[in-house]
Symmetry: C2
Subunit: 750 residues, 2 copies
Amino acid sequence: MKRLIPLVAILAATTLFLASGAHADETEANPSPWMGTVERAPAGVTAPAGLSGFSPDSIESELQLEARAAAMIRPDSLRRHSRILTEEPHVAGTPADYATAQYVQQRLASYGWDAQIVAIPVWLNWPKSALVELLEPEPMKLAVREKGIAGDKDSHDANAFDAFNGYAASGDVTGGVVYANYGDVADFQALRNLGIELKGRIALVRYGQVFRGLKVRNAEKAGLAGVIIYSDPADDGYAQNDMYPRGPARPEDAIQRGSVQFLSEGPGDPTTPGWASATNAKRLPASEAKGVPHIPSIPMSYGEATKILIALGGPLAPKGWQGALPFTYHVGPGAAKVHLKVEQDYAVRPIWNVIATLKGREHPEQKVVLGNHRDAWTYGAIDPNSGTICMLEMGRTLGALAKTGWRPRRTIQLSSWDGEEYGLLGSTEWAEGNAADMSAHAVAYVNVDAAVSGHDLRVSASHALRDLMAESIRDVRDPGSNRSLWNTVIDRAWSEGKTAWSQANRARRGRNEPPRAFEWNVSSLGSGSDYTAFVDHLGVPSMDLGFGGLHGTYHSMYDDFDYIDRVIDPGFGYHAAMTDLMGRVMMRLADAPLVPLRYSTTGQFAFDEMQSLEDRADDAGAGKPDSLRFTASLGAARAAAGKLRNAALVLERHADAALLGSEPWPAGGIEAVNGAIISAERALLGPGLPGREWFRHELYAPGLNTGYAAVPLPRLGQAVLDNDPRAWANGIAPIIQALERAAGELERVK
Amino acid sequence: MKRLIPLVAILAATTLFLASGAHADETEANPSPWMGTVERAPAGVTAPAGLSGFSPDSIESELQLEARAAAMIRPDSLRRHSRILTEEPHVAGTPADYATAQYVQQRLASYGWDAQIVAIPVWLNWPKSALVELLEPEPMKLAVREKGIAGDKDSHDANAFDAFNGYAASGDVTGGVVYANYGDVADFQALRNLGIELKGRIALVRYGQVFRGLKVRNAEKAGLAGVIIYSDPADDGYAQNDMYPRGPARPEDAIQRGSVQFLSEGPGDPTTPGWASATNAKRLPASEAKGVPHIPSIPMSYGEATKILIALGGPLAPKGWQGALPFTYHVGPGAAKVHLKVEQDYAVRPIWNVIATLKGREHPEQKVVLGNHRDAWTYGAIDPNSGTICMLEMGRTLGALAKTGWRPRRTIQLSSWDGEEYGLLGSTEWAEGNAADMSAHAVAYVNVDAAVSGHDLRVSASHALRDLMAESIRDVRDPGSNRSLWNTVIDRAWSEGKTAWSQANRARRGRNEPPRAFEWNVSSLGSGSDYTAFVDHLGVPSMDLGFGGLHGTYHSMYDDFDYIDRVIDPGFGYHAAMTDLMGRVMMRLADAPLVPLRYSTTGQFAFDEMQSLEDRADDAGAGKPDSLRFTASLGAARAAAGKLRNAALVLERHADAALLGSEPWPAGGIEAVNGAIISAERALLGPGLPGREWFRHELYAPGLNTGYAAVPLPRLGQAVLDNDPRAWANGIAPIIQALERAAGELERVK
């Protein structure tokens, strides 16, 4: 269910990257209409040299091995997987879903993997009936199904469910309508400020900004009786690009289905919160299910929503609320009266993860896990099966290498998760059930949800993975430019972040500090896909990869084979590039003698984020009385971040020297170093965030009121968002403790 | 022809204002849907105390006099003037225009003013014929006239001209169409970057961002054959507010007429550039007219433009080019083929300024000038006659005071300018003809164009007038809130500028400088109305006043009495408030013993602007090679700005003490001080800006490529906009000289 997450970020950090120009081509300015002109990054921002974790004399053989794998990747094989996996709608738990599990298991087994289907019982809903009608000013039924598009046979399929929301409540409500913009907390507050009565009314909210479940949560808290969530063409429709089939944007009748779980409070089966959903596991009664709404909701196309929206009266919609429909938006109520009746069919049903392993030759207990979900709201051609086909293709190439005698140093696990769309069910329940093993032995988790929804590489990750990512991107060709993908990524990052970078340097000049070189960095992980349990609950360093872009058919009947084959990736070149990238990342994580995680980057990230948070806290408190200002200092927390960075730098330099052979390994050898590195991210777990203890990472979490988007250093970041100086003050000590624990893990190897 | 100019600005300057809370009410947060929530300004930002230029014992009598004038202001009188002045369309030079001149002259004469009609011969066009038709894909004629709106009889009037542009070229062209966004220099460059052939094609550009004449200039330079300028609903239509008659936004068929002179290169009669257009004056032949286009152009409604735009093919419109019409914009060409044929009737014709004076009792030679234009593209109910009715009403109240024996210390001149819409003709030619007198004796120029197009006070001014403005705003009631207008203005300024203010303070903290208190300031003057010749050519301290808001009927047939009476200012309360504000400003300028101009504010403004310019220059040069970076230091220029500020502070403190009676006046007495103050702005004139020597002010000018918007410190500001480090380096010396000349004027009084 992955969705528009903040993209490539900029970090003005220490200049680890500036040593070598080996792989950086000279590049021309690249005009990209919807991005504005992409400007060339400044000279000196060159790709990293070397391969983290490998000794200089083993780099060449590793690159040759990777090249053999890459040479086996076949676009026609990717396309065939896509056609087969997307033949039928395959919502979690349905027979069609089981058929995809069988396909994935059989393919991986045939490639030489030890592949098993693992059934998990979960409580979830399928739709029984859905009705939305306008009673006034003109009675009319509103569509709960797409019409289909000429030339795309799948989009006419009658087998799909009508529009519904995962974990929606059943309900039958009638009332006046208010338009509540994106439905975030501030939007409902703005309506109250305008004097609009909310109680008992039906909220019409648009998709975007915050996870849809939080829109329903916010409406429920504000006293509304029901929610209609529609896709405004401002956000993923004609205001962004041509509509499918001419382009990738959302057609007039396309409905975004999706879960309305309160994702930021905790994913997974709502009746087994915090523990694995096994056959005999304790299970809360449905009435006590955690984090699901009690008021009914339904998704809608803009073509249908227009009929309601245009009939609203009341005050003008506030600044920023106007969408791209051709009239002036009002907040309501007014003439529109709506009847919403939805019935859900809830039951405990099996869903099916597929778990496949290739056993490690030296450290079979150490695991490098790749995951992608398989279930879809309709056909899932992009979300998620563009990732599934890359995983299968990578499974084929690694399997082929294994058949010729290669084995990775550590165990590789491929995971085809089920039930992700409802609330990351398959991955969360699996992670909860395998917590001890993962805590002890997981090296990293690599997530691929929608692998290709456009042509812009997006990387979110634990910051310790930054160097590995940069080196891997460097070695993959961009099928668009036929240059190194690194050039595309770095130029885009420069163009997007230029101002932030120069402002940071101005501030540094003011403090008489030397300017910082521009540098690429990964974005922080939020939520919305299967990495969540790994990074936030278990402290496994994680990443999320994909080529992004406008995916206007998201969760609609048009997310089908024709859309991907004709519009998004004709020729499947970007899928091939993603397969290559995933393969290199997995092989390096699994094969590098030294685990390629660098916590100096994590420490620097925390340090810089604290500076940025202090600035934002200053702004939030500007002109306010002292009681509303963020006065507690982050000095000690910055020192703890510096301590982690420095401890990591010492260990990294020592280990690099040992790899070179110029210094001996510390006591305990490389195994002791790897042990410390593997422990470092786990040490960043704390007692759990306030009010949502399942989230334990002290550096990363989704925003409590965003769901998808990351709020780094969540105790502090959330405090600023909530204008809560007390939460800020209370949040400092746990962060210091976590950073010092992680530094201690690294310092214990001498 | 005044148009959306950057509004109230923030200056984090010295804290002149923080002394007194006398007039600042406690205010509640004021939810204003289209502004976002307006937050209360921090405690301590109180209205200024006192009356600049008056001795403490004369303040009370001055305020009583002003209150007598204010008590005479009558909304019904304002409304009657409006109904009469807007009875017929009155384009410059037409008989209907002459009738309005007679009305204004007769009214002012009847109020006791010495009022004269002064004819000026100018070269200008009226339309002879206008035709735009789509030849392909479907042949159809496109409307060049509004349809009229039920219940608004004026909007159906057949006497108005068809749509045309002032100073348009005649022409007959046929071609494919390209969409060029706002038609600025960068927009045409972006089309070239996309590989779009421009030569011989017709540009479809939307209104907004830059003055329309520069759109045509840019198209002409880029090789296009003709230009159609339309009003996108994103900018002043339904995306902003409800359409007239439900609200103030532009209806589907409303056409924005207007001049296509190259305003930023020099206003006034294009055949008498730089000298007064008198009866026997030298006049260039039409073929050599300066600053007018050679390719034909026409304005269009969005209803008609849609028919062209929707037929365009080619690449997607770049990011930011998409308007609010309900389809995806492409840049063209494509299926659309357009035939544009416009014929202009050019001649030298008389236009008529009305000049009215009330002679000063002590310094009849010193002049305080108020001006407002009278000519309109159609009825001009808002633009400009909302200002005309305020001027007439103020003329009535001051005339009534004069009839009871009052006389101002200095001469007050009211000016009803003609031909402003074509290119500031009446004011520019008058200023050029009266340059010597103005240079010697003008105290200030007060401009009122569209006095009321909404409810948000907008003040642009020479910075020396800031304190006078703050004190005047303080003493006027806001008819919306019935509080002091100061509260409305300051809360809005705080809410809009908060972030800039806190960022500036963060930078100051980094430099170990003390934080600055938030403070209100005036915006810099750009161009687009009749203050231009006064401030930019003659160096007369100027201001431009108006209650602003979305004026969607701007320059269309719907800018009529019904629009103002029903939508914009029912009851004419804001007109009454503006009359009060203008009256107080004029009375204080004309009556204060000490001329109420403070150049310490000007010096501080220049100082802060240089800091901001250096930051922007840093950003513009970020990551570029040295030859493209702005390396020349502004250190000496900042020192010169500091010198002006300090010289002014010394003189202002001395004069204030003398007004109090606690110190003697300097040699030459108050007259010498006033003489120095009157000379200071003139000392800021230099040799003329590069390529447009008519613009002589070293601190203020319109942007060369914007037309309306100000580019303060224009040599430096334009250099940053143009990415021209050499112009930057060359621009420093003239600014230093101007600032030192002004400081010298103030220092010579001891």
